[in-house]
């Protein structure tokens, strides 16, 4: 199912534990490193790099592809995709084969074929969103930065970033 609403993204993040990040970079000024490092240090999701060019990122063992990840660690809850849009269908096929429950296409990774493949295989699909931004939207991180989270609630927040 293609998830389009904020509450669907919040619920996906809440029920997920593992993220396999395809295209995670060890270069400290790359967006994928920012997202990897954020998820790793926040600790609510276990993030693992999928990148054949590196052994590890910040001590977290990297896997050359999703099949290798799944063989050793089982199916990932979310496959997070930092690849160019034209590579997305191949990543979607690999994610389906690895048994991923959801696939998350980062900003700009928009490919209709990849979306259709994943959706038809029963994966939850998020498109053109950032998993860091959406995590921060619901745990208070965006709000700490003065950003418009869109969250309106008079309930005492649980699990927000301690300030």
């Amino acid at each position: 199912m293609i998830l389009t609403s904020p509450s669907q993204r919040r619920d996906l993040l809440a029920r997920s534990h593992t993220v396999a990040m395809v295209g995670a970079s060890p270069n400290v000024i790359r967006p994928s490193y920012f997202v990897f490092s954020y998820l790793r240090t926040r600790g609510s999701l276990e993030v693992v790099p999928i990148n054949p060019a590196v052994q590890d990122i910040d001590g977290v063992k990297a896997y050359p592809n999703l099949a290798a990840y799944a063989a050793e660690r089982g199916a990932p809850d979310i496959v997070d995709v930092f690849r160019k849009a034209s590579d997305a269908p191949q990543v979607a096929r690999e994610a389906i084969a690895a048994g991923a429950k959801a696939i998350w296409f980062q900003y700009g990774v928009v490919n209709d074929e990849a979306i259709r493949l994943a959706d038809e295989a029963g994966l939850d699909v998020v498109v053109d969103r950032c998993i860091k931004v959406e995590s921060a939207r619901f745990d208070g991180g965006l709000s700490i930065g003065g950003h418009n989270s869109g969250v309106i609630s008079s309930r005492r927040p649980a699990g927000r970033v301690a300030t």
């Binding site: 509450s7 490193y33 240090t41 700490i144 930065g145 003065g146 309106i152 008079s154 005492r156 927040p157």
Partner: protein, 433 residues
């Protein structure tokens, strides 16, 4: 959280301020702490590298200030906000986030006098040149754009001329030139106009005015849409930043590039931050902004109608009046009302204006607008006195002009006081004749 679009009044009360997670406090606590402890050295490093969200030091960010920023971003319909010490520092910080020495900006000439001076004197000293063009002349904005022009600036409602900017047309000029459109929304507030809905990319507000609403604190805010495509024309955002290990803000932060740079480089280095105390008062003000703006407009309409019927009054510049050249623009961009600040001219010129102001009892003679209390001033000798004659003419300031900021008092009392003033003005004009 349900997927529901909350209305403006609800967001004015709630956006940015869920109950405090630590204490359950329903009102936003005032976090009067200069600095915030780190969980670990790794956490500190992540914060300083801008890779995680959190508080470091209140010059860069503070929980109470962030609540104000988020609420303003919600009300203006933007991606986020950066609060500043004043409206002028909001404008300066917005410009410095995009432009540097050797660059150029184009602005409407009909602006608050302090903004004109900031642009034409202080920015010039920093190597940023400003061309001021007639605010009504869309083609003049277009003609003034050069290869090194970085932004187009206007006020929604010009101070003190009361001209209403053609926001959609100016946004088109800016976007055709590949540059952002920056709008100061102080006189309208997001309760009456949301420039981002009309194509603006960046909105500034002097929060000192209607946002605070009670004439108490000085503050400002930048809100950004998050939709402007920062590219090669904007190297401060799209080229490696030496301040952050050669990180490229546009590539790393995407839609958040401007907001991140405005905070992490400009606010950090300029230092014009908003105090948490002031942010708290501004949050209080925002809770009633939609209600107050409706009441301000109602009183302003009554005052304009009163003045219109008086012989002592030569002219009134209020965009709601049927003979205003800005009526059509006001109906389009300000359907709930053209604000509560307008000017009028007294027969008898500067002397009549002086006698009028000095005879008033209830209207406060001071240099501010947007207070709950009614205010009056003579721009030519105060807010715009530092301008050259030609700048003053371009700003629409004439010697006989009186500016009113209509407050929330009983309108009968405001009119009673104005009658006293007009009597004094007539006497002064008669003596002079």
């Amino acid at each position: 959280m349900e997927d529901h679009e909350f209305g403006f009044r609800t967001r004015a009360l709630h956006a940015g301020t869920p109950p405090d997670p630590t204490t359950g406090a329903r009102a936003m606590p005032i976090y009067l702490s200069s600095s915030f402890v780190f969980d670990s050295t790794e956490h500190a490093a992540e914060l300083f590298a801008l890779r995680t969200y959190g508080n470091i030091y209140s010059r860069i960010g503070n929980p109470t200030v962030a609540a104000f920023e988020e609420r303003m971003a919600s009300l203006e319909g933007g991606l986020g906000g950066v609060a500043t010490a004043s409206g002028l520092s909001a404008q300066l910080s917005a410009v410095l986030s995009i432009a540097q020495s050797g660059d150029h900006i184009v602005s409407a000439a009909s602006l608050y006098g302090g903004t004109i001076t900031q642009f034409s004197v202080t920015l010039k000293r920093m190597g940023i040149e400003c061309t001021l063009v007639p605010g009504d002349d869309v083609a003049a904005f277009s003609a003034a754009v050069r290869p090194n022009t970085k932004l187009i600036f206007t006020e929604t409602i010009g101070n003190p001329l009361g001209n209403v900017a053609d926001l959609s047309a100016l946004a088109r000029v800016a976007h055709d030139a590949g540059i952002p459109f920056v709008v100061d929304n102080t006189f309208a507030t997001p309760a009456l106009c949301r420039p981002i809905e009309w194509g603006a990319d960046i909105v500034t507000n002097s929060a000192t005015k209607f946002i605070g609403g009670h004439g108490t604190v000085i503050g400002g805010i930048i809100v950004e849409s998050g939709t402007f495509p920062w590219g090669a024309k904007h190297p401060l955002l799209s080229e490696p930043s030496p301040g952050y290990h050669d990180m490229n803000f546009a590539e790393t932060f995407g839609e958040f590039a401007f907001l991140m740079r405005a905070r992490a480089e400009v606010l950090r280095d300029v230092g014009a931050c908003l105090s948490p105390m002031n942010a708290w008062l501004l949050l209080q003000g925002l809770e009633t902004l939609p209600l107050r703006m409706r009441a301000h407009v109602e009183n302003a309409r009554a005052i304009a109608a009163f003045l219109r019927g008086r012989d002592e009054v030569a002219w009134i510049n209020y965009a709601e009046l049927d003979d205003s050249p800005y009526r059509a623009l006001a109906q389009r961009y300000l359907p709930l009302g053209a604000g509560a600040i307008f000017t009028f001219g007294l027969r008898g010129g500067r002397e009549a204006g002086r006698a009028f102001i000095e005879a008033l009892e209830l209207w406060s003679h001071l240099a501010n607008v947007g207070d709950a209390k009614s205010l009056v001033i003579h721009p030519a000798s105060t807010t715009h006195q530092q301008l050259t004659d030609s700048e003053m003419t371009a700003a629409g300031v004439t010697p006989e002009m009186v500016r009113l900021s209509v407050g929330l008092e009983d309108v009968a009392d405001l009119i009673w006081d104005l009658e006293n003033g007009l009597r004094a003005a007539r006497a002064a004009a008669t003596v002079r004749a």
